[in-house]
Every structure is written in C-alpha cells, then in structure tokens.
C-alpha cells in the first residue's frame, strides 16, 4: 500500500517537473539573456549569449535537454545556470528558512486560531463571538504584502522594537504574522463551525450527562473530533503558504526557496525551476502523509480501513 502511494507520488513529481520544464522552455524570453543582463547590468552581446547557452547545454534540442536534465538531477550533479552552483545545494541552503517560516506560520495560526474558534463556538452569539468573527473576516481580507509593510512601519520604524531584515528569532516574528494571518482567520472560522456541529452531537450530551467536567467534554470529546477538518484545511492551505512565502521573503530579505523560485521564473531558468518543482512536490507528498497519519490518530474510524 505504501509502495503504491510512493509510486504514484514519484509519477506526480516527474510529471509536474516535466510540465514546468516544458512550459518555461516554451515561454518567450531567453534564460541566457535574462541571467546575463542581471549579472552585467546591461544587455549582453550575441556572443556572450551563445557562450552561456553552450556552457549549460541550453542550445540542444528539447528532448535531449530534458534527458540531460534528468540524468544530472538524479545523480545530484545538476548545475543552476543562474548561480553556477549545484541546484540541490541551492535548495538545501534556502529550504530551512522557508521551512521555519512556514512552520511558525502554521503554529501561529493554529495556536491562536483554534482557541479563538473554540471560544467563539462555546460563547455563541455573544460579544466575544462577534469580535472573533470580525477578526476572522478582516484577517482573510488583508493582503499579506500590505500587512508586512504596515507591520514593518509600525514595529520597526515607529516603535523600534524589532529588526527590519536578517535572520534570527526576532526576525521571524513579523513575517510569521504576515504570512500566517490568512490561515489564522480560516482556522478560526473552520474551528468555530466544526465545534458547533460537534457540540450538537448526542455523544456530547451523553458525556455531560455522565457528569464529566465541562473542560473535558469540550477538549477531549469535542475538540478531538472538531479538529479533523482543521487538519484538512492546513494540508490544503500548505500550497498557498508556500506561495505566500515569495512575497514575504522578498520584503523581509529572507533567503528562502520562494523568492529564489520567483527569480528563477523571471530569469526563465527552467533547469532550476523544474528541479525545485520536484523538491516541492516531494514536500507535498510528505505533508499529505503527515495529514493522513494524523487522521488515523484522531479518528478511529479511519484506522479500520
């Protein structure tokens, strides 16, 4: 069963990379020109372009190029035309940054969103509930880049309590908020809805009738069932999160894979982009696996299958 899943995953990864390879290859624009123009600050001459393309074998026919790419990628020797260094190296250098950013955004969203959703559900239609719902609506509507700049303006320029850019624990605070706000709002709403549905179930009535303390009713019996859609949500939103890191990484100068991927696309660097797509697809496989495992822990009905 696991083997079947892995095989499907591998197929998806390769198909995704082939698709991105072809699309970027066919797109107008030339990787040699884009990269050289960036490096020189000026338009390159035809000779320079030809030299660059020969060096990275970009002048060969399409399928030969793909075959070379495949061979080099699998053996770990693929070189990224943008930087002249190993593609795997570029990914591993930047991946920890994006991972910590995404992870802390999810943690922030969950740690604040789930309790807020629970409170909202318990105290339904009260003032607290209204406030929480407003926060959720606002959170979903604010664009992340605008929020990021606003946060910098307020916390860094006006209050001077946080640094603008760089890497470090303090540096992660603002990017986490900017990136995690959407997810936080979504989690709040989903938790609220899910909790309301669960709390109206018969087994909740039974556990109250049994004489269990309210806290246990809510957390052990209510939340455990209500949190399943939230896990689904996080798994689904993971892709958005990765996409959102592009803007956040640019604004806060965090050297992550999001920004590098964007730069590669602008530079038409299909060699690096396809490799990154492979890695990211692999990430998705892992995330989906984790989500499935969490299901089996939380929901016994899934285990029997």
């Amino acid at each position: 069963m696991i083997i079947k899943r892995l095989a499907t995953a591998l197929l998806v990864m390769f198909f995704a990379s082939f698709l991105s390879f072809s699309l970027l290859y066919l797109a107008p624009g030339n990787v040699a020109e884009a990269v050289l123009k960036e490096q020189l600050g000026f338009e390159p001459t035809e000779d320079e372009i030809v030299a660059f393309m020969t060096r990275y074998k970009l002048d060969k026919p399409f399928f030969i190029q793909y075959y070379i790419w495949l061979r080099l990628f699998v053996t770990g020797k693929l070189i990224c035309p943008q930087t002249g260094e190993s593609v795997t190296g570029e990914f591993l250098y930047r991946f920890p940054v994006t991972l910590s950013l995404a992870f802390s955004a999810v943690a922030f969203a969950a740690c604040f969103g789930i309790p807020l959703g629970i409170v909202s559900a318990i105290r339904r239609n009260s003032i607290i509930d209204s406030i929480c719902r407003v926060i959720a609506s606002v959170g979903v509507s604010i664009p992340s880049f605008w929020l990021a700049l606003l946060l910098i303006l307020f916390f860094c320029v006006k209050l001077r309590i946080l640094p603008v850019f760089g890497l470090g624990l303090k540096n992660l605070i603002l990017p986490t908020i900017a990136l995690g706000l959407h997810l936080f709002a979504s989690i709040t709403r989903v938790t609220r809805g899910s909790m309301l549905e669960v709390l109206s179930q018969h087994y909740i009535l039974v556990s109250r009738a049994k004489g269990l303390p309210e806290k246990m009713v809510i957390l052990r019996h209510g939340l455990r069932n209500a949190v399943i859609p939230v896990i689904t949500l996080i798994g689904l939103q993971f892709g958005h999160l990765l996409g959102g890191t592009v803007i956040i990484e640019s604004i806060f100068s965090l050297p992550g894979i999001g920004k590098f991927l964007m730069d590669s696309i602008f530079a038409r660097d299909y060699i690096a982009v396809s490799a990154f797509v492979m890695f990211i697809a692999f990430l998705f496989v892992i995330v989906n696996l984790i989500v499935d495992v969490l299901y089996t822990i939380l929901d016994p009905r899934v285990r029997v299958e």
């Binding site: 797109a27 107008p28 624009g29 030339n30 020109e33 884009a34 123009k37 020189l40 600050g41 000026f42 338009e43 001459t45 035809e46 250098y93 930047r94 700049l149 910098i152 303006l153 860094c156 320029v157 001077r160 640094p163 603008v164 850019f165 760089g166 890497l167 640019s250 604004i251 806060f252 100068s253 050297p255 920004k259 590098f260 602008f266 530079a267 038409r268």
Partner: protein, 381 residues
C-alpha cells in the same frame, strides 16, 4: 568587429567599462592561466577585501591595508542584501543600514520616496547625474512610425519640463537629445522643444486628420495609434507612459501601453515586434560609442528595427576607425544630426542616481561612473 578593423579607438574605454571586461588573476581559475577555466578563488586588487560572504544575505568587507592608492577611512563595511525597495527605505529610517542606493547603478531609491526622506532630520539625500537618459526607441519600419513627420510630431508633443517637475519632484532633468551633451563627442545641436502646435501641423502634413471629431486623427480609415512596450521593472516607466498617453492625446495620437514581463518584452523587441520601446542612452564609459554600435549599427545584429541606414553605418564605422580626434568629433556630430533630424528616438529625462544616508555618514562622494561605489572618504561620526 575588432578583427576586421585596423584601428579601434574605444579599446581602452571598453576595458574601463565595468560590465564589459573584468580583470581576473590567472591563479584564481582552475586550471591556472586557462581562459575557459572555472573561477575558484576571489582575488581582487581593490580598497576592500572580502572577509565574509553569506549568499543572498550579506557580505563583510574589510579595508585592504596593502592597497596601492588612497586607503579608505572605513575599516569595515557590511553589505546587506535587501531585495524590496520599500524595505530598503525603511531599513534606512530605522538605522539598520547607514546608506542606501550606492551599490546599484540607479533607481534603488524610488524617486517618490525622496521628499519623505528629505523631510526626515536624520537622513540626507544626494543625487548625481551621469548623463544616462531614459529614451524611447522607435521602430522606424512600421506604420505610422515609418513617417519621419509622425516621429517628429511625437517629439514636439511631449512637455518634458512639466513631466519632470510633476512626476519626479524636479529631481531628474528633462532630456531632448539622443545622447547627453556634456559627454565627450556629445551632441552640440538643438533638440526638440515643447511645441504641440508644430506637432499638429506636422501630423496634418502627413495626412493624419481628425475627420470624425473623436480627438484621434485618422488616415485612409485607420486611426493614428501607436503602442508603447514597457518591460516590467523599468524604472518609472509606468508613470511616464501614462503621462505620454495624455500628452499624445492632446495632439490626436492614441497611445496604447503594453506592460510586459521583462524577458517577454525583450524577446518581442529582438524580433522587431514592437512600435515604441522604453530604453536608455547608456552609461559612460560605454557611451556614446557602445550604445551607438548596439542600437544603430546594422552588423551588430542587435536591434535591427531601430533606425538604420547605410550612411549611418558608414558614419559609425568612421567614428570607430578614425585616428584624428577632431575628425572623429565631426563624424559623431553628423551621427547626432542624423538621429535627431530623423527623430529616431524620443528622449525623456536624465536618470539620476539617488543615494540616501544617515547624517552620521560623512564624506560620501558620488563615484565616477554609475556602476561604481566610492567609499574612500566616508567615515562614521
């Protein structure tokens, strides 16, 4: 090109151009002395040594005490990578960085931020003109721009003075010549002044009349419509394009703005699939000769839809091969006259390099070229 000429005057200028040639130590490549070897070490000869380099984050430079020339006052420079322009400005405001705009060749500090920075007591702003104009190139082989009267009319129709004052708070200077006049061999001719009446007369002469009263001229049933191609990220091009649109409408020309991602725009331009393209007139020392060669010399095979004639090709060849300085200047002036008379381009304004720094930074001087950063006399007090 150099191999077919006996004498190539810009040889030293090309060597001095930052981006055309870099001097590499033979032992920095593997295998040593091989021109197709791989760069394995950074060996430089400058005022600062590279002490630490963290990719995409920062570099630490230390003063090179063995430098042959004037040693800089600073002991250490930390060069941080900040990709976003707004974050850059905010980093200066908070004091996380001391100086911005110096390493990039232009437009690191957006013009619209300058008044706000000037208002800040702790920050000083300074700018320098390097004679690099933002210029719009015409595709002289497509209708209606194949008619020189239309190109001239466009040049007369734009009020560059007002544009610079309104859009850039007077920071940049208006430009109406194909190349900066204070360059050596620069044009000493009169450019196009703002004269919308003359523009209208020229368009009427060319047969473009507004027959249906909608404000746009027509000829043979076709509207006088031109398209401006902007590569995304080109400094200030968006605001300038909108201004141009309104100026051209006043004389009856419809301007369509097409903003495209820079690789795609570049490809269109190479194919000749454009009418007007936002470009620039080059930086010293590669201007004026290099730009002339790349844009108007047919055998350079760069941009074959820009203005080309056999006479112009011959003039450019003469420019490159004449030994006599005075004669070379004559040839240059003929080139400028041709380009100006044929209105092969629409010059807009002088792109100045803006640098902003905190007032603890003393002694900053603008470098000799746009690409360089001169920190020799800088000290922090």
């Amino acid at each position: 090109m150099a191999s077919t000429l006996e004498y190539y005057y810009p040889f030293l200028l090309d060597l001095a151009s930052e981006f055309r040639s870099k001097i590499v130590s033979p032992s920095a490549v593997e295998p040593a002395w091989s021109t197709s070897g791989e760069l394995v070490k950074y060996i430089g000869t400058g005022q600062f040594k590279l002490a630490e380099y963290v990719k995409d984050q920062y570099a630490v430079l230390e003063r090179n005490d063995e430098y042959w020339g004037e040693k800089p006052k600073l002991e250490k420079v930390v060069w941080k990578a900040i990709p976003d322009a707004h974050a850059l400005v905010m980093a200066l405001k908070t004091g996380d960085v001391d100086i911005i705009g110096a390493p990039e060749h232009h437009s690191a500090v957006p013009y619209e931020e300058v008044p706000k920075l000037q208002a800040d007591e702790d920050i000083e702003v300074s700018w320098q003109s390097y004679g690099r104009f933002q210029v719009i190139r015409f595709n002289c082989y497509v209708e209606p721009l194949d008619d020189v009267r239309v190109r001239k009319a466009i040049n007369y129709a734009v009020d560059r003075g007002t544009m610079v004052k309104e859009l850039f708070a007077g920071i940049a200077e208006p430009a109406n010549l194909p190349m900066c006049s204070w360059f050596k061999y620069g044009p000493i001719i009169e450019g196009y002044e703002y004269n919308p009446e003359k523009a209208k007369v020229l368009l009427e002469e060319a047969g473009w009349i507004d027959s249906d009263g909608d404000g746009i001229r027509e000829k043979d049933g076709k509207e006088l419509e031109v398209e401006l191609l902007i590569p995304q990220g080109e400094a200030n091009a968006d605001v300038v394009a909108v201004y141009l649109q309104s100026e051209l409408k006043k004389v009856g020309i419809k301007l369509n703005i097409v903003s495209m991602e820079s690789s795609a725009a570049s490809e269109k331009r190479k194919k000749g699939d454009f009418m007007m393209y936002v470009h620039h007139s080059g930086c010293i020392p590669w201007a004026p000769q290099g730009i002339l060669w790349q844009n108007h010399y047919t055998k350079a095979e760069g941009y074959y839809k820009h203005f080309h004639t056999d006479e112009l090709d011959e003039l450019i060849e003469n420019v490159y091969t004449t030994r006599d300085d005075a004669k070379r200047d004559e040839y240059y002036q003929q080139v400028w006259k041709t380009l100006n008379d044929e209105a092969a381009q629409l010059p807009l304004y002088d792109i100045v390099k803006v640098v902003a720094y905190r007032d603890c930074v003393k002694g900053y001087n603008h470098a000799a070229t746009m690409y360089k950063m001169d920190l020799t006399s800088v000290e922090i007090v």
